[in-house]
């Protein structure tokens, strides 16, 4: 069992919630870019979530979750002191930082929760990091202070102009590239469509662009093939070959189709969340 040490919402709208979990084995090895899989209880799904931070001394791992589906909503009903049945990791390959001097990290919405630890990890290693954090509106902005402290330049954009610069994050990136900013690499994390747009925008500039993929996953250890995607014409497994891939080689249309396979089941499950009572399930 893995105890929830603390929990806090990361914005006023409470669209993203941070959980610190007691998981010493995972904490010892976790590196930026890797993920964990949690399971609420015996009946729960295996849910993959990127590691936001880890503290090997305290033995804790931080995850940031957007409560949108049944499992994440159930997680959100749990409180410090409650336990998750399973919390396994670290899984996937860590972010490659070798040979990088200057990088732009671009996140969209809750993707910033994943982009931030990568940006900070790079910054901690002396890599110059510009970060563009895009949000729909002011009320869902997360981690502003942390991102500002953990990068060299932080640009916040909101689609509706209610905070930071008005417009999409990808528009800001385009502006930076047009203004002559040179990056060894651009790293994007966010909704699939956003990452696809970033990759399309950077292609003409010939800047290597890495996308952090989050496909449907089941075991997370390279056994089931549910997370497969086509990269450069080859079938890859996000859980063991990724989750980060060269965004210019990724077959984006295929990913968008695959990601929606259980949309109907997810919708129905989320609607039936009335079964949940304070994080504890009742079974007759």
């Amino acid at each position: 069992m893995f105890k929830i040490v603390s929990k806090r919402p990361l914005n006023e709208a409470k669209t993203v919630v941070e959980f610190v979990i007691d998981a010493p084995l995972v904490a010892r090895k976790a590196k930026p870019g890797q993920f964990i899989i949690f399971r609420i209880d015996e009946y729960g799904e295996r849910v993959p979530v990127t590691i936001a931070a880890s503290d090997p001394k305290k033995g804790t791992v931080t995850i940031m979750v957007q409560p949108v589906g049944k499992s994440t909503k159930m997680l959100n009903t749990m409180e410090p002191g409650d336990c998750l049945a399973d919390f396994v990791g670290p899984l996937g390959r860590p972010t490659n930082m070798e040979g990088l001097k200057k990088v732009c990290v671009i996140g969209g919405g809750v993707g910033n929760a994943i982009a931030y630890p990568v940006a900070k990890g790079m910054h901690d290693r002396g890599i110059q990091v510009d970060m563009i954090a895009g949000f729909r509106s002011k009320d869902i902005v997360i981690l502003e202070e942390e991102m500002r402290a953990g990068t060299d330049h932080l640009y916040i954009t909101t689609d509706d102009g209610s905070y930071g610069e008005a417009g999409f994050n990808v528009t800001k990136l385009q502006a930076l590239l047009d203004a002559g900013e040179q990056y060894d690499e651009i790293m994007c994390v966010g909704p699939t469509r956003m990452m696809q747009r970033v990759c399309e925008a950077t292609k003409p500039y010939g800047v290597k662009t890495i996308a952090s993929m989050n496909p449907i996953m089941l075991d997370g250890t390279g056994m089931c093939g549910a997370c497969r995607l086509t990269v450069g014409g080859e079938t890859k497994f996000a859980c063991v070959d990724g989750p980060e891939f060269d965004g210019h080689l990724v077959d984006w249309d295929g990913i968008i189709q695959r990601g929606a396979y259980y949309a109907q089941e997810e919708k129905e499950a989320a609607e039936h969340i009335c079964r949940i009572t304070g994080g504890v399930r009742e079974h007759g």
């Binding site: 009946y43 089941l218 075991d219 250890t221 390279g222 079938t235 189709q257 396979y261 499950a269």
Partner: protein
């Protein structure tokens, strides 16, 4: 006096058209009377060929003699002196190519039902056994051994070592121990309660099981040595599912058998109280002819598919699945499309599977495997309308351990190189066995390898 009837006592089973709608066990097991009657068919040969056919060398005539006498506890003692997991073997071993395939009674009639008797004895022991009290625990010898993977290879290795007094810890990546026995083989063929009981027995002998532990990520093999483990057995199994490399393979509704079996068996997607979703549709095609293909086909039927096809490029004679599984599948109205090879998976404009295009095959000259090579019949392509395709054509070894353990030699196919006689790898103190070495094989072969490695580890530690 031996029972000279030609046929085996038939196995009581659920009716095919009832069982193909539920996940309860298909085969119901012998009664004591049936078991004694069947045991009397054994001639107790002076040179028992059956034992040579068994990868873990169960003393078959001896245990069967005990069954014939009605001494079921005694029979259990004989079996478990060489086999740690009899309730599992009795259910899933391909007896027809092993023990029963060598049985002299099989020359003129049917072989003795060795697998059925083994199952009977193990099940009897679980419910009515232990008359002499719990078995004696071995004297601890103070040596710590790590086992990576809790499938048949790992559990067998752990069980054998624990019985010798070793302090054994098994690391499992999933949330539940058992490996392929829990995520792969369906409930209707191997009830998970049986697997749990066999594992509990190992725990009784002192085996510790740590779940949610991905060795190679959370801890490396080298770190296990640093923690004081004196030897490490790697039984991490086969990993990456192979796909067909034909057009349409990434359409919605194309799955690996591993995915469907894991959703069904480990995550219990067929039970409404479990959250993991599964959706296959009305018509499902399975590509492949092994046990995994049979399991996937029979799961698909039970999940509500009306038409389930098994597409296999050779003929029934070459089909590698256990005979009983094929017969069960046929009785459950699984449709076999033999001598058919997929060339394309076809879909609609939304990206969903609508069919699988296959080409007819005929058998030509024998190939390297000794089986007649299937050859395409030109112009014979046609489309079978289906809503989902499950690919069950095998797996490649999981690269996680090899890529994180310096000094481990790999085979061309990505397996770990291990000595067949001892399980020893190219690194001192590291042993390996099962699918991680051979690529996808059978439960009993993995158990055999686990057993060999347990002896190899014992020799290694005692010789230090």
């Amino acid at each position: 006096m031996a029972n000279m009837r030609m046929d085996k006592n038939p196995m009581p089973e659920q009716e095919p058209l009832v069982r193909n709608k539920n996940f309860d066990e298909v085969a119901l097991g012998y009664t004591a009377e049936m078991a004694i009657d069947e045991a009397k068919r054994c001639l107790n040969c002076r040179r028992p060929a059956c034992v040579e056919g068994c990868p873990v060398n169960v003393h078959i005539p001896q245990f069967i003699a005990k069954v014939a006498e009605g001494d079921f506890d005694g029979a259990y003692g004989v079996i478990t002196s060489t086999n740690s997991l009899p309730a599992i073997c009795g259910r899933v071993c391909p007896q027809e190519t092993q023990c029963e395939g060598r049985c002299v009674r099989g020359i003129k009639g049917e072989s003795v039902g060795i697998g059925r008797l083994e199952r009977f004895v193990a099940d009897y022991h679980m419910t009515d056994g232990h008359k002499d009290g719990p078995p004696k625990l071995p004297e601890p010898n103070g040596h710590k051994i790590a086992v990576v993977g809790s499938g048949p290879a790992g559990l067998t290795c752990a069980g054998d070592l624990a019985r010798k007094g070793y302090d054994v810890t098994v690391f499992e990546a999933f949330h539940k121990a058992g490996g392929v026995l829990v995520y792969g083989i369906p409930e209707f063929r191997l009830p998970k309660a049986i697997v749990a009981k066999e594992i509990a027995k190992l725990e009784y002998f002192g085996v510790k099981i740590v779940t949610d532990a991905v060795i190679g990520r959370a801890e490396s093999v080298d770190e296990l040595f640093e923690q004081g483990f004196e030897a490490v057995f790697i039984g991490s199994g086969a990993g990456l599912p192979q796909f067909l490399r034909i057009p349409g393979e990434n359409l919605l509704g194309v799955f690996s058998a591993n995915e469907i079996l894991t959703r069904t068996n480990l995550m219990k997607a067929y039970l409404p109280e479990y959250d993991t979703p599964i959706r296959l549709g009305r018509r499902v095609a399975i590509v492949g002819g092994g046990n995994v293909a049979m399991d996937a086909a029979r799961c698909a039927k039970r999940l509500g598919a009306e038409e389930v096809y098994v597409i296999y490029r050779r003929s029934m004679e070459e089909l590698p699945a256990r005979k009983e599984e094929v017969e069960h599948a046929q009785a459950e109205e699984i449709i076999f499309k033999l001598l058919n090879n997929p060339v394309e998976i076809v879909g609609d404009e939304t990206g969903h599977v609508t069919g699988i295009k296959v080409i007819k095959m005929e058998l030509g000259e024998p190939d390297a495997s000794g089986r007649r090579r299937p050859v395409e019949v030109p112009g014979s392509e046609y489309v079978i309308d289906v809503d989902a395709v499950i690919v069950a054509i095998g797996t490649s070894p999981n690269p996680l351990i090899l890529s994180t353990t310096p000094g481990l030699e790999a085979t061309k196919k990505g397996g770990i190189v291990a000595d067949e006689a001892t399980g020893a790898t190219s690194r001192a103190g590291v042993f390996a066995g099962g699918d991680a070495v051979t690529g996808a094989a059978t439960v009993i072969k993995a158990m055999g390898a686990g057993k060999v490695a347990a002896a190899g580890i014992d020799q290694y530690i005692m010789g230090k």
